[in-house]
C-alpha cells in the first residue's frame, strides 16, 4: 500500500463579518479609558468570532503503489485541502495518513520563483524548494533546460519572461523530480495547448514508470486519459471511488444540483437548480451545432444582494470558448432577493461535437468581490456528423483536435467555386 488515508477530517475556522456600527469615537473612547481591557476584548473577539467549516469529513481510501488516481469535484469540494494534508502543508484535525516512499507535491507551478532572479538561478532555487539536492539539480540541469525550451533566456531575469515561458520553465523543473509518490494540483490549467500536451505526456510517462500519482484536475479529458481510478469529492466527503471513466460520468451527472456550500461566503446566495435547454425549451444534455443553448439558473438569495455581475462561460477541454459577461456588457439585475430565475440564451452555438462545461462566476456590486468563484454548473455534449457540416474525411479529426468553436464561413476560390463550413445548419449533401 502506498497511501492509506483513514477517517480524515479537516476543520477550518473562517472569519465572519462583524457589525462595525460602533464608530471611531466610541472606539477611541473605549481604548483610552482602559487600554488593556480594550486590547483583551479585541483579541477575544478575534478568536471567538469564527465560524467552523469542515473541509473534509471522514475521508478514507487506500492507494496501491503504481496506481494513478484522479481526484475530482467542484470548487470547495475539498480536493486541494486533501492534497495539502497529504503533502504535509497543513495538519489534519482528525484522522491518520500513511505514506510510503519519497513524496513530491506540486500544488502550483513556479512556487518560489523570484522575478528578479535569472532562469538559471530560479532552476536551482525552485529545485531546492521542491526538495531536490544541488547535485541532483546539476545533473538534470541540461535536461530541464531542454524540456523548458528557454535556453536563450537562461540568464535573463524571470520578470522579463512571457507567461508561457515562465510556466514552461517552472513545469520543467517540477517534471524532473523523481519521487515515488507524485501529487499534482491543477497545474495543467496554465500554459499553451502544445505545452499542456507535453506536460500530460510527461505525467503519463511518470505514471507508466510505476510511480504512484495523485492528480487533481478540472480537465476531465486529462483525468480520463491519465488515470485508472477516480475519486469524486463533494462537500468534503467521498461520493464515488471507482474507475476513472464512471467517476467522471457521475461528476457530470451531479453538476447541476447541490450547491449548498456557497452559503459560506456571507452573501447567502444559494443556487438551487441549473437546467440546460434547447431552442424548443426541452431540457437536454445533447445539442446540435447551431442550436440555441439556454442556461436557466434557479437561485435563492437569503439576503438582499445589490446589482451583482453574472458571468456565464462555455468551456471545452481546449479551453475557454465564449461567455456572456455582465462585467463587459453592463446589463445586470437591480437586485436579487428571495427565489428567482435568471436565464441566458446563447444563440446558434457554433460548436464542434465535443464535451463542454458551463461555468459561472458572480461578482458583487463593486465588480471585484466574488460572490461566487468560477464553478462548473453543468455539462453538455454537442453531437453531429461533421460530414454534414462541410468537413470531409481526415479533416473531421483534424478540426476536432485543433479547436472547439468555428463560426460559419464560406470560401470563394479563384476558380469561382465556393466551399462553406456551416456549423449552424446541416448542409444538404448533394
Amino acid at each position: 500500500m502506498s497511501i492509506t488515508v483513514d477517517n480524515l477530517f479537516k476543520r477550518y475556522l473562517i472569519g465572519r463579518q462583524r457589525p462595525t456600527g460602533d464608530g471611531l469615537r466610541h472606539l477611541l473612547d473605549q481604548a483610552a479609558r482602559n487600554p488593556i481591557k480594550w486590547l483583551a476584548s479585541k483579541l477575544k473577539e478575534c478568536k471567538q468570532d469564527k465560524a467552523q467549516f469542515w473541509a473534509l469529513k471522514d475521508v478514507s481510501f487506500k492507494i496501491q503503489s503504481g496506481e494513478v488516481v484522479g481526484i475530482i469535484g467542484r470548487n470547495g469540494a475539498g480536493k486541494s485541502t486533501l492534497l495539502k494534508i497529504l503533502s504535509r502543508i497543513t495538519e489534519p484535525t482528525k484522522g491518520v495518513v500513511r505514506l510510503k516512499g519519497r513524496v513530491a507535491s506540486l500544488l502550483e507551478v513556479g512556487t518560489g520563483f523570484h522575478p528578479e532572479l535569472t532562469g538559471r538561478e530560479n532552476i536551482f532555487l525552485n529545485g531546492a524548494i521542491l526538495g531536490m539536492r544541488r547535485a541532483e539539480i546539476r545533473r538534470k540541469f541540461d535536461e530541464i533546460v531542454a524540456f523548458s525550451e528557454v535556453e536563450k533566456f537562461l540568464d535573463t531575469p524571470v520578470k522579463r519572461y512571457s507567461s508561457g515561458m515562465f510556466v514552461r520553465l517552472a513545469f520543467a523543473v517540477a517534471a524532473h523530480l523523481e519521487p515515488e509518490i507524485l501529487m499534482v494540483d491543477e497545474v495543467l490549467a496554465v500554459g499553451d495547448l502544445a505545452f499542456q500536451k507535453k506536460c500530460l505526456g510527461k505525467m503519463g510517462e511518470v505514471a507508466r514508470g510505476g510511480r504512484t500519482v495523485l492528480f487533481v484536475s478540472h480537465n476531465m479529458d486529462a483525468i480520463r486519459s491519465l488515470c485508472h481510478r477516480g475519486v469524486l469529492l463533494r462537500n468534503g466527503e467521498i461520493q464515488a471511488d471507482a474507475d476513472a471513466e464512471s467517476v467522471v460520468e457521475s461528476y457530470f451527472a451531479g453538476l447541476s444540483t447541490g450547491f449548498d456550500h456557497h452559503q459560506r461566503n456571507g452573501y447567502g446566495l444559494a443556487l438551487q437548480k441549473v437546467s440546460l435547454k434547447n431552442d424548443k425549451g426541452k431540457e437536454t444534455r445533447q445539442f446540435y451545432p447551431g442550436e440555441d443553448l439556454v442556461v436557466e439558473i434557479a437561485f435563492d438569495a437569503q439576503k438582499y444582494i445589490e446589482k451583482p455581475y453574472f458571468t456565464l462561460a462555455i468551456q471545452s477541454s481546449k479551453g475557454h470558448c465564449f461567455a456572456a459577461n455582465m462585467l463587459l456588457d453592463g446589463h445586470r439585475p437591480k437586485y436579487l432577493e428571495g427565489k428567482g430565475l435568471i436565464t441566458c440564451k446563447f444563440k446558434s452555438i457554433p460548436l464542434l461535437p465535443q464535451r463542454y462545461t458551463v461555468r459561472m462566476a458572480i461578482k458583487a456590486n463593486n465588480g471585484k468581490d466574488p460572490i461566487m468563484d468560477y464553478e462548473d454548473l453543468g455539462s453538455f455534449s454537442v453531437v453531429a456528423n461533421l460530414e454534414d457540416y462541410g468537413y470531409k474525411g481526415e479533416f473531421q479529426t483534424r478540426v476536432s483536435e485543433a479547436t472547439s468553436v468555428v463560426v460559419p464561413y464560406e470560401w470563394q476560390l479563384p476558380d469561382g467555386t465556393t466551399a462553406s463550413i456551416a456549423l449552424n445548419a446541416p448542409i444538404s449533401v448533394n
Binding site: 495539502k84 503533502s87 495538519e91 500513511r98 510510503k100 528578479e116 538561478e121 524548494i129
Partner: protein
Amino acid sequence: MNELVIEAGRTERQYWRDLWKYRELFYFLAWRDLLVRYKQTVVGIVWALIRPLLTMVVLTVVFGKLGKMPSGGVPYAILVLCGLLPWQFFSIAISESGNSLVNNSGLISKVYFPRLVVPTSSIVVGFVDFLISLVFLAVLMMWHRFTPAPTVFLLPFFVLLGLAASVGCGLWIAALLVEYRDFRIIVPFIVQFGLYLSPVGFTSAVVPQKWRILYSLNPIVGVIDGFRWSILGGDHQLYLPGFAVSAICTALLFSSGLWYFRRTERTFADVI
C-alpha cells in the same frame, strides 16, 4: 521503505531530521535574499557601508559633539560604531526575519518544509551586512591608529549572543505576524525606539548605577557592552551583574521564541 505518518499533532516528530534534510533550502533562500537585496540599485552592496556610516556620523555629532557624552578615552566614532554594529545587525535581522514568513506566504501555503528555515535563513542577509560593517570598523580603527584590546578574540562569543537575541526576537515576530499583521507596524517602532533605548550612541556607564540592572533587561545591552569591552577594553569594563541579566534575557528570548514558533507553526498554512 520508511513510512511517513501524518496525524494531528504528530507531523512534528521527525522535525529536526527534516530540518537537517532541508539545509540546502536554507542556503538557497539565504542566497536568493542576498542576490535580490541590492538588485536594481545603483550603488549595490555599498549601501551596506553607507547606512552604518551615516548613522555613525549623526550619532557621533549628536551624542559626542553636542551632548558631550563621555567616551572613556576612545575616539567617539569608534565607540559609536562598536555599539552600532550589533544594533544594526539586530534591527535588520528582526525586520527581515519578522517579515519573512508573510513575504514568503506563497511558499508556506504551497510547499512543505520545516518552517524554521525561512526566518533563520533571512537573518543571513543581516549577517552579511554586519560582516561588511565589521571591516569598516577595522578600517576606522586603523585610521585612528587604535589598537584593539587583547580581549578581542572573545568577540565571536558576543556575536553569537547577538545572533541568539536576533533569532529569538525574529521568531516571535515572524510567528505573531502570521496571525496579527499589527506587528508589521510595531516592528519599525521597536527598531526606532531601540536605537535610543539601547546604548548605541552612548556607553551604558552613563546610566545611573541603581538603574543598571533594570536597564540590562534589554538583551541588546549585554551584547553591546560585550562588544565594547572586548574590542575597546580600557575604561569599558563589563558590568557583570548587568551582563548576566542580559544574557539570561537573551536565553529566555531565544528559547521562548523557538517554543512559540514551533507551537504555532503547524497552523501557518491555514492562517497566513
